[in-house]
Amino acid sequence: MEYQEIDNWEKVSELKKLLDLSTKPKHLYYIGNLDPQIFKHCAAIVGSRKMTSYGQTVVEKMAPRLISQNITIVSGFMYGVDQYAHRVCVESGGKTIAVFGWGINTKLTGNDLKLAKDIIASGGLLLSEWEEQKASHWTFPVRNRIVAALSDAVYVVEAALHSGSLITARLALKLKKELFAVPGPITSRTSFGTNKLIADGKAKVWLGQDAINILQSVIDDPMLQILDNEALSADELALKLNVPISKIGAKLSMFLLSGQLNEKGGKYYINYVS
């Protein structure tokens, strides 16, 4: 893919926010159609490489809401939460910026290449401060400072205790950005970091849907009422409701088709978004 350098990026008014960094990038290379407007309102969605189905659901909720407010989603193009955020953004028709933790001239393959092409096709950008640079353990934290600096707000979806996402969070605080963390189960390793950010009072809690909205959704079927409390599998529903599995299965399919339910990894969730 053809890459270019942003000439004199320090002069681009939309990129002034990068000047706050103590070590400013020397160059900025990009792939895609450059329209400086894309940098105007940005939010970062970052998180664990090991995304759980919970993290996945959160991203699916979070990204479309940001996009609807015309916010560009910035992330680090690492598999897991980062790439999923890019993916959801592309699929929801939003713009996204992927900041590489390696040189812009690196060849991408497989799923990475496909995602990169989709990002460009949807009007997004691939960005890196290096031309030739191998990915290394130090390049990722360095890259994170650009993610944080570009964004007005940083959302940490899932993060373990010593996760790179927490570096982004720390930088965001240093740069006086708004920091949100998504609370998770206290038993989940990938939520230790986010929960700690909240417990230490460093990040705001992101609760997704406004509480009023949740209450307003119409729930009349006993099956939906149960699923409103916790996500369950078809087997568990059959047990709880004491109804044969054949009936449960048929009903679940109907709700899936009507968009009232979502299925992930064999469990059924109420679909609040629609």
Binding site: R49, K50, S53, Y79, G80, G110, N111, R189, S233, A234, D235, E236, A238, L239, N242, P244, I245, S246, K247, G249, A250, K251, L252, S253, M254, L256, L257, G265, G266
Partner: protein, 515 residues
């Protein structure tokens, strides 16, 4: 003097008559030659026969002996020609005199000799018995330890022998051995159970339901879930809910096992539907059949039963691809030096797959240790063409122990294998009725081609709309579309409904492809 003794050669499941011609010449240099495309095992019969005759306190003629196995262009294998050759030598050398009423051309001698003159168990006795019955022969003389196999064949005297000298005494009338009684074959066939009863399995209601649908419509099934969730146990309970083998089916299965030498001496007929679960280290020859004289592989040993592939992605790719022909045609053809053999291989495939190499992806308690790349690679190893031939996909989740106790209180919906099997049998009856006028041999919904689906499915308009809606939402291929109708047809049969109602279709959607 020249003697001709009828015998047989088994090529695959086909039996061909051959003649064992033995000539003991009155002149010439002493020697013992076997001709007629004999394999190494047949060649070595010389030493066995010679020693066995001497050790049976008989005389081995010190003259020129020539044995011809005719027709000469058909390859012969196995040690079963020891007995006819020995009898031939004894007759031709004038040491054995048959009574006048004995008709040599209507009797078969078949079996391997040991050096001390005793007879060893021999493969393919059932096929010999069936062939003898077909050409209206009167008796077969076979090793006592394998004779039970042929005891199910009617109208044939099956004489089980322990040694060559016993046979000589019997033929000369000095000590007559009574033929085996035919009664053993009438054993009830429908009393068989699976290894586990459905009611023993806690939870997994959806998987159990999928098993019943698979058993009813002959659908192939794929189970997907972490280790320890009961995928193996579930599949092992399947033989218990499949309809019992009919006598014809049982004979068909027994023939395969007889050729393979896998019969056990306590039962003359295989009455259980086969359940084969080959290990993933198996070779292609082991799976589809092979060897220089091709023997049946696992796919044929699972004929009319279940082939269970645990951890399917661990099998070699080429091996899984080799299942395509048998899954499509119900037979497998093997071509080797010694000939071209066709074995039946009509089985229900049950495959189990872990979600990732370590198995714990999406597990509520354990952490998955695989990298993203490993997971993608693992998923790519699952063969697309095979997935295309699978109708039912079911996720087998982790049963949490605290919920198990709840299950045991809730007995209302714990179906036993016996009840499930009754449902299956009645659903199969409906299908048999449906395809009565179809010229092809088609017995189950899974065997329907797309044109048959249009003809027989009887899909209600609303159900069709539902399917179209689903196909938009989940992006089905045309193949999945027809697959779902077939599954819905079986569900409707289970509910004894002549048309496919929206609810049946909705349930079928639960088993759509998800990999």
């Amino acid at each position: 003097m020249l003697v001709k003794i009828p015998s047989i050669a088994n090529i695959g499941l086909e039996t061909v008559p051959i003649d064992v011609e033995v000539d003991v010449a009155s002149a010439g240099f002493p020697g013992f030659t076997i001709v007629g495309l004999a394999s190494k095992a047949v060649e070595e019969a010389r030493e066995r026969v010679k020693t066995a005759i001497i050790n049976s306190k008989l005389d081995f003629p010190g003259r020129k002996i020539t044995v011809n196995l005719a027709p000469a262009d058909l390859p012969k294998d196995g040690a079963a020609y020891d007995l006819p050759i020995a009898i031939g030598v004894l007759l031709a050398s004038g040491q054995l005199h048959l009574p006048k009423e004995f008709n040599l051309s209507k009797s078969f001698f078949y079996g391997e000799l040991s050096l001390d003159g005793t007879l060893r168990p021999t493969r393919g006795i059932l096929l010999l018995g069936l062939f003898a019955q077909k050409i209206r022969a009167s008796s077969i003389f076979v090793p006592a330890q394998s004779a039970y196999e042929a005891s199910v064949v009617k109208d044939i005297a099956v004489v089980g022998l322990n040694s060559l000298s016993e046979l000589i005494l019997h033929l000369s009338g000095a000590k007559v051995i009574n033929p085996l009684t035919h009664s053993k074959a009438k054993k009830k066939l429908d009393s068989e159970h699976g290894e586990f009863d459905l009611s023993e399995i806690a939870g997994q209601e959806q998987a159990k339901r999928a098993l019943i649908i698979a058993a009813s419509g002959g659908h192939n099934l794929l189970m997907w879930g972490p280790p320890g969730t009961g995928k193996t146990m579930l599949s092992r309970s399947l033989p218990g809910i499949l309809p019992p083998l009919t006598l014809e089916e049982s004979l068909e299965v027994t023939r395969i096992y007889s050729v393979s030498g896998l019969m056990s001496s306590d039962q003359p007929l295989i009455s259980k539907r086969p359940f084969r679960s080959p290990h993933h280290g198996i070779s292609t020859a082991g799976m589809v059949g092979g060897g220089s004289n091709p023997l049946p592989g696992e796919v044929s040993l699972a004929h009319l039963g279940v082939l269970f592939l645990d951890e399917m992605p661990e099998f070699q790719r080429g091996l899984i691809e080799s299942l395509r022909q048998p899954m499509e045609d119900g037979t497998v053809e093997i071509v080797r030096v010694l000939g071209h053999v066709k074995y039946p291989a009509s089985f229900t495939l049950i495959a189990a797959i872990n979600p990732c190499p370590c198995g714990y992806l999406g597990h509520p308690k354990k952490e998955c240790k695989c990298s993203e790349k490993q997971i993608i690679k693992y998923k790519q190893r699952i063969s697309g063409p095979i997935l295309d031939r699978v109708d039912l996909f079911v996720q087998v989740g982790v049963v949490e122990t605290e919920k198990l106790s709840v299950t045991s209180q809730n007995k209302a919906y714990r179906l036993s294998s016996k009840e499930a099997r009754e449902k299956v049998i009645s659903a199969r009856k409906l299908q048999k009725q449906r395809f009565k006028y179809e010229k092809r041999n088609i017995y189950t919904n899974s065997q329907m081609k797309n044109s048959d689906v249009k003809k027989y499915a009887n899909l209600e308009k609303e159900a069709e709309n539902l399917l179209k809606l689903a196909s938009d939402k989940f992006d089905f291929s045309a193949r999945s579309y027809f697959r779902l109708i077939k599954v819905a047809r079986t569900i409707a049969d289970l509910e004894d409904s002549s048309s496919i109602k929206p609810l049946h279709m909705a349930e079928a959607l639960q088993y759509k492809q998800m990999i």
